[in-house]
Each structure stands twice: as C-alpha cells, then as structure tokens.
Amino acid sequence: MADEPKQQQKGQRHRQAVEVRVPGTELMLVRDVLDNRMVDWRRRSLGRADGLVLVQDGEGPPRVACLESGPTVLGRRLGHRFGKWVQRLARRWGVRRGRVVRIDWAKVKSVGVDIDLNLDLDETEAWALEHWMRRKVIGRIPGHSFKKGQDHEKEGEQA
C-alpha cells in the first residue's frame, strides 16, 4: 500500500533512551544501568558498567557518584574473597595495575540500550588493555592491517 506510513527506520530501537539530566526522571539503576555498555560521544565502547557507586553526603537520600568498570569490580561482585584475589592479580599483572575505570555520573547523558557518555574515550584509561594488546601482541603479527573493514561501530579508532 502506497500511503502506508514508512517502516520504522532501520536501527531505531524500542527502548527509548532516558535523558538523565531531565529533572524528575526515574531510573532503575540495577535493571537499566548496571551491566549496560558505556559508549563515548563517537559511540566507541568504554566497557560495561560493572559497578555503581552511591555516596551519602549530608541529609537526604544517597546519590549516584560514578559508574565503575574493570575486572576488579566484577571480581568483587562474585564474592568478597574472590574480589580480593582478582585485585591482587590485577595489581601485579594488570595493564592498569588494578585501577578501576571510574566515570563521573555527571558525564552520563542518557541511558538506553547503551549508556551514552559526554566524554571522549581517550580521556579515560578504558582501553589500556586494547592499546597494550595492540602494541605488544597484535601489532607485531604480520598482516594485522590486511583487512579493509572496520568494526561494526563504524568509528574504530584511527591511530
């Protein structure tokens, strides 16, 4: 039928992104924020929101201070002792020396299928392992740039 409204645009998703800066916005932290992917302004992935940090300043309810990401945070979620063990390993061998990637809540723009952040990936340490692998391992194997394509984000970092 000719006058039928145009099909939903390709790429349009069902979960409407919630603009978190709008006053009165309700967010389900565990359901909608925790474990979602965080992307920077160019839609490059910083990793997943592995943890949430709440702080209590003064009276009133606590507020969300930051999002955390990193193996140490994940380890802690599985158990106190396991977390300690992961942290020791990360301090000794990790490329970030066990530091956790912390994203200030003020940088969070909207929460939808992904968590959109108002920052650039390169301001953070999120890709420490990526850069290390690239420098020390992948970049040393011949043919590492043979393919022409890019990753599906279309915004793969050009070094």
């Binding site: 992948i138 194997i141 590492h144 740039s145």
Partner: protein
C-alpha cells in the same frame, strides 16, 4: 521482496546450513544409523526443530534490539547469573573446537594417509589465517558455498535405496529393542550435537555484523527455517546412508575412519574424496565459527570493541581471543586424544549446560524493551518451555548415559 533480499536469504541459508553441519552432527548421525538403522531419525528431527526455533529467536533478538544474545543476557540477568553459563560455554567451545580440528585433521588423514596428529597444528594455523585475513562475508560465504559438497551425503542416501517406509517410521520415537543405554546415549548426543550453543551467539552476532534491522525479521525467519532444515536433511542423509549400508552388515562405528564407509559403498572413490572434502570444509567452517564465537562472547561480555570486519589491530582484544582459541584447542588433538571420544564427550557436556543457555530465551524474547512488537507468540514460548524441560532431563541423564552407553 526485491532481488537483493533474495540473494541475502540465499546466502544466509547457506551460512546457517554451514553452521548446522559440523563433525558432531555428522559423527552422531552415522553412529545412530549404523547401530540402530532408521530408528533414531526422530532424535534428528526433534533436534532440528528445536534448533530452528532457537536460531530464529536469537536472530530476531539481534535484528529487533541491536543486541547480540550474550550482551542481552548479561544486561537482563546481571553478571552474577551470566558468568556461570558463559564460563561453561567457553569451556565447551574449546572442547567442540578441539573435535572440529580433529575432524578436519582426520579428513586430511583419510586423503593423505598421514596421521591426524600431524595435521592438528597446520589446521589450527589455517583456521587462524582465514580469521586473521578474511572479513566476515568472505568467511561466511566462502565456507558455506564450498560446504555445498556435503550434499554428497543426500546423494549417497538415495543411492543406497533405503526403504522409505522404515525411514518414515523412524521419524516417530520408539523404544529400543537392544542396547538400551547406547540408544539413549546416541539420542541425547545427537540432540546435543544439533543444538550447539555456539550457534546462537554466532548467529545473533552475525546479524549485527551484517547490520540487520527490523526489516530483516522475515529474512531471518526464512534463513533459520530453510537453513536449519537443509542442515538437518544432510545429517539425515548421513544417517540413512549408514542405516542402509552399515546397519545390515553389523558395522558399529566407533572410529572416525569408519564414517566414510557409509558413502563409499555406493559412490565409490569419488564419493570418498567428496566426503573427505565435505568433512574438511564443514569442520574448518565450524572451527572458524567457534573461534569467532569465543571472541564474540568475551568482547560482548566485557564491552570491548569487536567485529570480524575490523582490522585485527583495530580490535586487538577481540582478535587476540580468536587467535588464541584454535591454538589452545589443537593441543589435545596433536597429543593424540581420540577425536571421536572428544566429540561425544563435548556433546554430553553441551547437553548439561543447555538448560541455562536456553532459559534466557524465555525472558528476553518476551521483553518489550528488547524485541518490542516482535515478541514471542504462544507457540514460540511453548516451544522454548518444552526445550528447557527436555534439556533439563537430558542434562540429568547425560553423564550416566555417557558412562553406561558411550562405547
């Protein structure tokens, strides 16, 4: 549908058929045919129906939400649930990958006469090279078009002049007359071989790689139904050929080298070479898909940048996973572990983790945040529920059967 869509469907069907066919499906179908004639056809049919529904759902999830299956499971269920099935799945992936490498190495042994152990490392290197240099489309279409050789199995089945009445009767489940434990062990392994968990992650990640959107819901359904059905048909060809040729002669297949006997009896020398080529391509194709699946799972779990179309250096963490996987998995084969034993063992382990892999489908495919108006209907939900119950029963009996009925 326009012609571009038709091409997309055709290529997708080839790809999903390629994903369906791997050493486990071929080996268990041959064993079943040799030991029990046509009696186990029903297990093949049941497995194919289950996998068709689940593959269609994982494609629909990716097309409608833009999220591949592992990512959606972690977001919806949280890390603490997610970590266990996914860790188990990576282990199973490695086991199945080892048996696929073993299968390709055996295909080379069949043709060259050189022991499969020597082929394990070269095969791993070959798999890695294809992943390292090829883009997603080159790999999926290349492997699946070459994989058409496996149609030789269907030809062999017809050449063996099977009694169609018995074939039809085998489609209805029946109780075994002899070797009860072995019968049920084969039924469970066949279903475990067909419902491979890696297929769902791989298929839904592939939908993202191919940039599927909501306009692909119909394409996805056609691909899942025809592709899986075609894969099931080829496995059925193997089973029928084995049932018609090996079963009357009392040949029990307990070594991979016996598998081509079902083909060579009717098709002779050229059938033998076509079978070896088909086995090699099917196994290499599956090895590629499993290695990629490992990379997809890690990347999506931790939110790394990923994509098989990316230059390896632009997705360094992603490409290091698929680099590591084949080389780790080829070790047991190079050390001379029996490929058939590894295959059957990995099928049994697959059935154990299957319930937790399938359970999320019931929730995700009804979550409007993800699939919107493309939710499961009553039939879809009923099928997933039945699969979960079936998988739970199989998970309980898998190991006792492996001990009692695994030859």
């Amino acid at each position: 549908m326009n012609s571009k869509k038709y091409l997309e469907v055709a290529l997708g069907i080839l790809t999903s058929t390629g994903g369906f066919l791997e050493v486990g499906a071929i080996a268990t179908a041959t064993q079943a045919g040799a030991s029990f004639g046509y009696q186990l056809m029903w297990a093949l049919l049941l497995g194919t129906i289950c996998v068709t529904f689940l593959v269609e759902m994982s494609g629909r999830l990716a097309a409608s939400s833009g999220h591949p299956l592992p990512a959606a499971v972690r977001e919806r269920f949280g890390f603490n649930f997610y970590v266990f099935p996914i860790a188990a799945q990576v282990l199973v992936d490695l086991l199945v990958l080892a048996s696929e490498i073993g299968g390709s190495a055996l295909a080379l042994q069949l043709v060259t006469g050189v022991d499969y152990r020597w082929w394990a490392v070269p095969v791993a290197l070959f798999v890695w090279l294809l992943l390292w240099l090829g883009t997603f489309n080159v790999i999926e279409y290349g492997v699946s078009i070459l994989g058409l050789i496996t149609v030789v199995c269907i030809v062999a089945a017809f050449k063996a002049h099977p009694e169609m009445a018995s074939v039809g009767k085998g489609l209805l489940p029946s109780l075994p007359r002899h070797d009860k434990a072995h019968y049920w062990f084969l039924a469970v392994s066949m279903i475990g071989a067909i419902i491979s968990p890696y297929l769902f992650n791989f298929y839904s990640s592939g939908a993202i790689e191919d940039e599927w959107g909501e306009d692909h819901i119909g394409v996805n359904r056609a691909i899942a139904v025809i592709g899986m059905g075609f894969g099931g048909l080829i496995s059925a060809g193997m089973l029928v050929a084995a049932a018609a040729i090996l079963h009357p002669r009392g040949v029990e297949v307990d070594r991979y080298e016996q598998v081509p006997l079902a083909i060579t009896a009717t098709l002779g020398k050229w059938g033998f070479f076509l079978f070896a080529a088909g086995l090699f391509i099917a196994c290499v194709g599956a090895a590629i898909e499993i290695s990629l699946d490992g990379a997809y799972v890690f990347s999506q779990s931790f939110g790394w940048n990923w994509g098989e179309n990316a230059k390896p250096r632009d997705a360094a963490r992603f490409s290091s996973v698929y680099t590591l996987m084949p080389f780790v998995a080829c070790v047991p084969m190079a050390l001379g572990l029996d490929p058939l034993a590894v295959t059957l063992f990995s099928m049994a382990i697959t059935t154990i983790i299957l319930p937790v892999i399938v359970l999320p489908f019931l929730v995700l495919m009804n979550d409007e945040h993800y699939v919107g108006r493309h939710r499961n209907g009553f039939v879809g939900n009923a099928v997933v529920f039945v699969i979960i119950v079936l998988a739970a029963v199989m998970a309980v009996v898998a190991i006792p059967l492996e001990i009692k009925g695994g030859s």
